[in-house]
């Protein structure tokens, strides 16, 4: 195969992928329920400015991303000795671009989000949820990771 053809193929492959450094996904803020009382469910709204979880995404204006959240079903007691259910419903998450006038768009954090970067190259995703501690839940700190995976197009 001529050298120019090889170069052409290589270039085509490069052009089809986002450039390194062009994309960014990072966790900004934990989803924090704070103090919850054993036996008393607690909810955090995705719009809570302090307690909601937050991720930051950056790509290019006009680009698209497919976003998937890996959500825990339980929080685990730090040091062991117990778990506590955590659940998420449709509307417990929303995405908001950073361009002026951007409108939040709610989605089900348990599903896939297809997002187009409109008006700006970055966006934030906010996450709420609910915990339902049993009356016999042991006192202590509980935690579990939430992972956001974004594929950029």
């Amino acid at each position: 195969m001529p050298r120019c053809v090889t170069f052409l193929l290589f270039t085509a492959c490069l052009l089809a992928r986002p450039l390194a450094g062009q994309t960014q996904v990072s966790g900004v803020r934990d989803l924090s329920f704070g103090i919850v009382i054993a036996g008393v469910p607690a909810t955090v709204a995705p719009g809570d400015p302090v307690k909601s979880g937050q991720f930051y995404l950056r790509y290019v204006t006009g680009g698209r991303a497919r976003v998937r959240l890996t959500l825990p079903a339980t929080l685990n007691r730090v040091g062991g000795g117990g778990t506590m259910p955590i659940s998420f419903r449709n509307g417990d998450a929303f995405v908001l671009g950073t361009a002026p006038g951007s409108v939040p768009s709610s989605f089900n954090p348990g599903g896939l989000l297809n997002y187009r970067f409109t008006g700006s190259a970055d966006a934030n995703i906010y996450l709420g949820g609910r915990v339902t501690p049993a009356a016999a839940t042991a006192s202590g700190n509980y935690t579990a990771p939430v992972v956001l995976t974004a594929t950029f197009f």
């Binding site: 966790g27 924090s32 007691r77 990771p145 197009f153």
Partner: protein, 165 residues
């Protein structure tokens, strides 16, 4: 353009269209909560002004009065707690009322008024700590009977609210 070149160009074009991004990135946060056992509140003693005379104010001191009211709270050892009250403006005996002029409070981690920390129940929220898993809150006050205060048994509810913070 040779045939092989045309084929390569077509292939490259097809790849650019179909080779969607493999650029996947992840970010992490934590979901977290602190579980505490519920606070319990029990009535330890009623605030009792005893016999009062018309036109003569009578006080019960929270920090020393033998008939001061007391609430007994339990909570998680070491946890902070906010305490507030729902206080009546008057004691009532049927349609007659007996004004409560002021309120007095103090709290301690043991069931003893000696050395308790004073506060004003009507001033809002007071913060304390379940140092040893218990908190005792004492309540006093002053009633101000009118000169023609009708005789009778006057009473009203005093409610304590507590929440971790």
């Amino acid at each position: 353009m040779s045939n092989s070149m045309k084929y390569a160009v077509a292939l490259a074009a097809a790849m650019s269209l179909t080779a969607v991004s493999a650029e996947a990135q992840s970010g992490n946060i934590n979901a977290k909560a602190t579980v505490l056992a519920p606070i319990t509140i029990a009535q330890g003693a009623e605030l009792d002004f005893g016999n009062v005379l018309p036109g003569v104010n009578k006080s019960v001191a929270a920090a020393s009065g033998a008939t001061a009211g007391r609430f007994d709270l339990t909570g998680v050892t070491g946890a902070n707690v906010n305490v507030s009250f729902t206080l009546p403006a008057n004691l009532a005996s049927g349609a007659n009322t007996l004004p409560i002029g002021s309120w007095d409070g103090c709290h301690n981690t043991i069931a003893n008024q000696a050395g308790c920390t004073g506060f004003t129940p009507s001033a809002g929220t007071t913060s304390a700590n379940f140092v040893a898993g218990a908190l005792y809150v004492y309540v006093g006050g002053t009633v101000s009977p009118a000169g023609l205060q009708p005789a009778g048994l006057y009473q009203a509810n005093v409610t304590l609210n507590a929440a971790y913070f």
